[in-house]
Symmetry: C2
Subunit: 491 residues, 2 copies
């Protein structure tokens, strides 16, 4: 893997001096075009061996280019706010918006490699980390980010020479610590683990560029020119990068769907409902006040037909909770800041700390529902969203969050009845909008989208609950029962 | 203060049952109008005696109203990210955007009162806290927020009765802890400190409503009706709330200004410059790598005429720094999310943790410069900004941040020369925009704005440095020298 970076690459002073001014101008130019057009964000990952010039290179890039449009992130131990969320949260919150360059000096690679080298984690965890990284970078690239990764390498001999040289000079002696020599002893293990990581995450949409780190001039020109070429190519490309085209799902050929299986005939008398509601709310209240709940959390996702009763069902949940322990996040159109980031960014952004119930009134499933049906995103976008969403929810579950997803189902007739009823209602908040009628007109397309969604995202970690919402009382009881059951199972 | 809340207020069951449905409908209606119009945010502070129904009332409000547009915040001990910033940071980040209702259950009142009661802080600190709160709420109100504060009171007798009643019932026994009785012993001290706090922060734009907490029906109706009346009044008011009109500053009658005092004739030969630059950058590099620096931080603000050389001066600072230790925040027009918040919100939002150099390329002073001159905000807005800014910077300094503010000054002739030079330059990034020429046309108005700014915001805690930028080299040295001097003085 790293052989090509042990050949003694070298650039002489004159060549360097002749090349740099033109390179700087071109980099500044490209950066200017990027920040003006806001065409895409640049994610630059810096990894490699200690002493191979990582820090120097980052400093040089910020000197050559306009530092106002560069964000440099070093990552130390996670803060307590970060420790409460999935491990990738800190990287999501640091992603650069379109038009900016984000340098990740220390990144999602650091921990998996160091833990594997130290033997703290086994092969399976390492494999899982590689898979997660590949999903993440695939998503970044699909969302339009330019992802470039530089690996700075030093041979074992060069690494040793460097440490000895620093130690022999009284002025630089202090830079060599015991930890440096301890790391050096692990050189072989670090190289082997890194080589595998670099190999398995070296993909066309997020390539590694291995740079020999010994000669500063060689390494600076290599990084500068590589970055420039990649920037220029993407800036001058006519359109967005084309994603992989997957085949669209085909509707069931016998027209039977999971939605047809839902029994919409059940009714619940109001008295029986009141008794069961009280009991369930009591159960939920106790569960969410338990000591163990403080170490976990619930994310409840509500999707469903317009007028299916999402709001009412949500209020029956929150009615059982202390107002400080829950949050309802109503999902509307993304803001300007959110539109400059990958699709899932705005949901990552709102992730709660542990010990909370977070209710999403509509959710990330908008991508495979309204955005798919209305054509707000491309077919490639919603097709890859299934995998991205499963990956997202897997990370939530690994972070000890219970993910409950509800689809509230009503018949087309019942929806019409409720629309008419709302037209008569005195409360303004029940206004029926043109959009509601438009959505209704696309009923069949939505049925198809819902079935595909359930098919592809109802996982053992985060299953969908299809709720019979023809009778609102039945629906509310089913929602509360599911929630209590999932909580009892997990606590 | 609290006598009116010890009179035994009581509402009977029938009256309550008759009133509630209408009240709920009206509250929902008002909330709907608020969320549609996004006319203003509502900041609801809940304070008072334990056991007086604070939690119950918050839960009831979220039940009565649409919980999707309510954000409830409880505040425990600060997270480590919060502990690195000024104490008010956690409240700023929790402010509701326009159209939403934020309930602060536990707020900026909690800590000052408890620390004073415990005797941990003296009278002066308490006075300072009161002043800070009044500034903060004045700012909220001036920015258009509806600020309402409810204080829930129980007489000492009622408090004792409540604790004894809970203890006597095996089912509720667990709710009474030793801490509750300990708090009860401090009842008198708590009442006295609170009474003073409530009195001194009870202002027309952010009133306290003291609510007797013993009877649940009385207290619920009181809070609901008060909130409704306040919401309705603001929603139905024709325009924004009028702020207090302060007199505008008058230009110096002899036309002499601080800017005229700057010696623009000094020049620095390039060789002398290079030597001094290197020495200063070395000093800065050492200072920012010291252990003591990790516990403090620098915020450097750059303002100045177009083409005065802000970018070049900033790069001479960052050239001395490790890229992981600084951040440059270029200030452009606020985003949609930022426009739904008070003016200073976007600057609070970007505040770094300790141990960083943060450079603002333009800053919050936009309010009293471009926004004033161009009429982007009202005279009241920019007049009150001086005080708001001083208050903001005072909090930064109290959080051990060194605040350096630079105004880069050039003559009108020199600016013209640089504009012409830039027109010839090959780099696109030096494009001169129409806006630059427009700003130039308003030179005199800007001179007045700059003089007023220096006059009103050059404080002993955060002084302005007026930089002679006619010669760029002179300017860079002055900036670096100031920065090093301030750092050396502080560390």
């Amino acid at each position: 893997m790293f052989e090509t970076a042990e050949v003694g690459h070298r650039i002489d002073k004159e060549t360097y001096a002749a090349e740099v001014p033109g390179l700087r101008t071109a980099l500044l130019d490209a950066q200017f075009d990027l920040s003006q057009s806001r065409k895409f964000p640049v994610v630059l990952v810096i990894g490699g061996v200690d002493g191979a010039g990582k820090g120097e290179t980052v400093n040089l890039l910020t000197e050559w280019m306009d530092p106002r449009h560069i964000q440099v992130h070093g990552f130390g131990p996670p803060s307590d706010e970060e420790a409460q969320r999935p491990a990738m949260w800190r990287f999501w919150r640091a992603l650069p918006p379109s038009g900016k360059l984000g340098i990740f000096f220390g990144s999602w690679y650091t921990e998996p490699i160091l833990e594997r080298v130290a033997g703290a984690e086994g092969e399976r965890t390492f494999d899982h980390a590689i898979e997660r990284i590949n999903h993440f970078e695939r998503m970044l690239a699909d969302e339009g980010a330019l992802v470039l990764k530089f690996w700075f390498h030093l041979s074992k001999k060069a690494q040793k020479k460097r440490l000895e040289k620093l130690e022999s000079d009284p002025k630089t002696q202090w830079r060599v610590t015991k930890a440096d020599w301890k790391n050096f002893k692990r050189y072989d293990a670090f190289r082997d683990v890194s080589a595998r990581m670099v190999r398995e995450t070296n993909l066309a949409h997020a390539p590694w560029i291995v740079v020999e780190g010994e000669d500063a001039r060689y390494r600076s020109l290599t990084v500068g020119k590589t970055l420039l070429a990649a920037l220029r190519a993407r800036l001058d490309a006519p359109g967005a990068a084309a994603g992989a085209t997957a085949p669209a799902p085909v509707p069931a050929i016998d027209h039977r769907t999971v939605l047809d299986q839902i029994d919409l005939a059940t009714r619940l008398p109001r008295e029986a409902y009141a008794a069961r509601l009280e009991a369930l709310q009591g159960r939920l209240a106790l569960l969410t006040r338990s000591a163990r709940f403080a170490k976990t959390g619930v994310i409840a996702v509500f999707e469903g037909w317009d007028a299916a009763g999402k709001g009412g069902a949500i209020r029956r949940i929150t009615g059982a909770l202390d107002a400080r322990r829950y949050e309802i996040i109503p999902i509307a159109a993304p803001t300007e800041e959110e539109r400059r980031q990958p699709y899932l960014w705005r949901f990552w952004r709102g992730l709660p700390p542990r010990g909370r119930v977070t209710v999403f009134d509509r959710s990330w499933y908008g991508r495979v529902l309204v955005e798919r049906v209305e054509g707000f995103c491309s077919q490639d976008d919603w097709l890859r969203a299934y995998g991205e969403i499963n990956d997202f929810e897997e990370q939530l579950v690994e972070n000890k969050t219970i993910v409950c997803k509800f689809w509230l189902h009503v018949s087309k007739d019942e929806q019409l009845r409720r629309f008419e009823e709302r037209k008569q209602a005195e409360f303004k908040r029940f206004k029926i909008t043109d959009e509601d009628w438009r959505n209704r007109g696309k009923w069949d397309a939505y049925v198809q989208a819902v079935c595909d969604m359930v098919d592809r995202t109802s996982t053992e970690l985060a299953p969908w609950t299809l709720v019979a919402a023809e009778d609102k009382l039945v629906a509310r009881i089913q929602v509360l029962e599911t929630l209590c059951g999932r909580l009892e199972g997990a606590l």
